[in-house]
Symmetry: C2
Subunit: 155 residues, 2 copies
Amino acid sequence: MRLSVRGEYALRAMQVLARDYQEDDSVVRIQEISEKQNIPKRFLEQILNDLKSAGLVVSKRGVAGGYRLKRKPEQISLSEIIRHIEGPLAPVSCVSEKFYEKCSCPDESRCAIRSVMKEVRDSIVQVMDKTSLADLAARAQALEQQPLNPYDFII
Amino acid sequence: MRLSVRGEYALRAMQVLARDYQEDDSVVRIQEISEKQNIPKRFLEQILNDLKSAGLVVSKRGVAGGYRLKRKPEQISLSEIIRHIEGPLAPVSCVSEKFYEKCSCPDESRCAIRSVMKEVRDSIVQVMDKTSLADLAARAQALEQQPLNPYDFII
DNA sequence: GAAATATCTATTGACATAGTAGGGTTTTGA
DNA sequence: TCAAAACCCTACTATGTCAATAGATATTTC
């Protein structure tokens, strides 16, 4: 049930872009994202390219180039990012809405495991759909004002 | 966020064992599980062996041998099975309770992504913890009495 | 036109996944 | 007692994915 490193990097990069987002055409350099988030630069390059072909970011080439969100942070959900980088959110593809595939069980329509997995899927999607990059940024700001304590989590 | 085939097979096998579970010492043959669930026999052998060393099933050797659940179906949750076969239920291990690992982000205690992932983890665990093999069996029975319609799901 | 940047294509090493293969051990029952 | 049916153990392999790394190219600005 794991997110790949690639997916995690994508989220972290998008978070930076959301944070620096402005209405004008300002962009953020790969280098900067890479340094802020400890992500290997060349690898990040590929990931941002993926996000670009997914229509989530746009790039500007040349000396003052870089990346920016294609839409406002409020209009990009985490689920959209993960789906493009990782594929299905569902634990088994026989319960996936966007990437459905038949499974090998004897009778899918009466499979109890499938029905539980559908519950799992729905609860994952519920969290990831409702959380936008803007929410993420707000949450980050709230966390920054917390006292520094490794045992504190905001849930 | 995917479950491996191995994990899926483990659930399907355990479901069969739960279904055939009796208080006496009766066992189910690998062959039978394999046929019922379309699982390659030799592969299933390995998986059941894993489940055995995890203390979830016991085996009986010899000509009338096979496997049975070590505990009652009510006392085995899906989360326990998956954790033994797959490892962490959490999407990133920096939010895992049982398999925690530090991640590469600049400040874990103030990481907004982490806090969202913790929500995701909790909602996955909530479903998988509360669902036992007995629940699964009951659900299977309910599904069997449903009319045959591929668009019907019980949620 | 030089420098800084992004872009594209290919390759790689490590690891995991999903099996397959071959033999070995235990138990039963004819 | 011996063979068959079951589980047990170790190893192997083909395939694919992951996480980069590398090299060359294109674009923009100063």
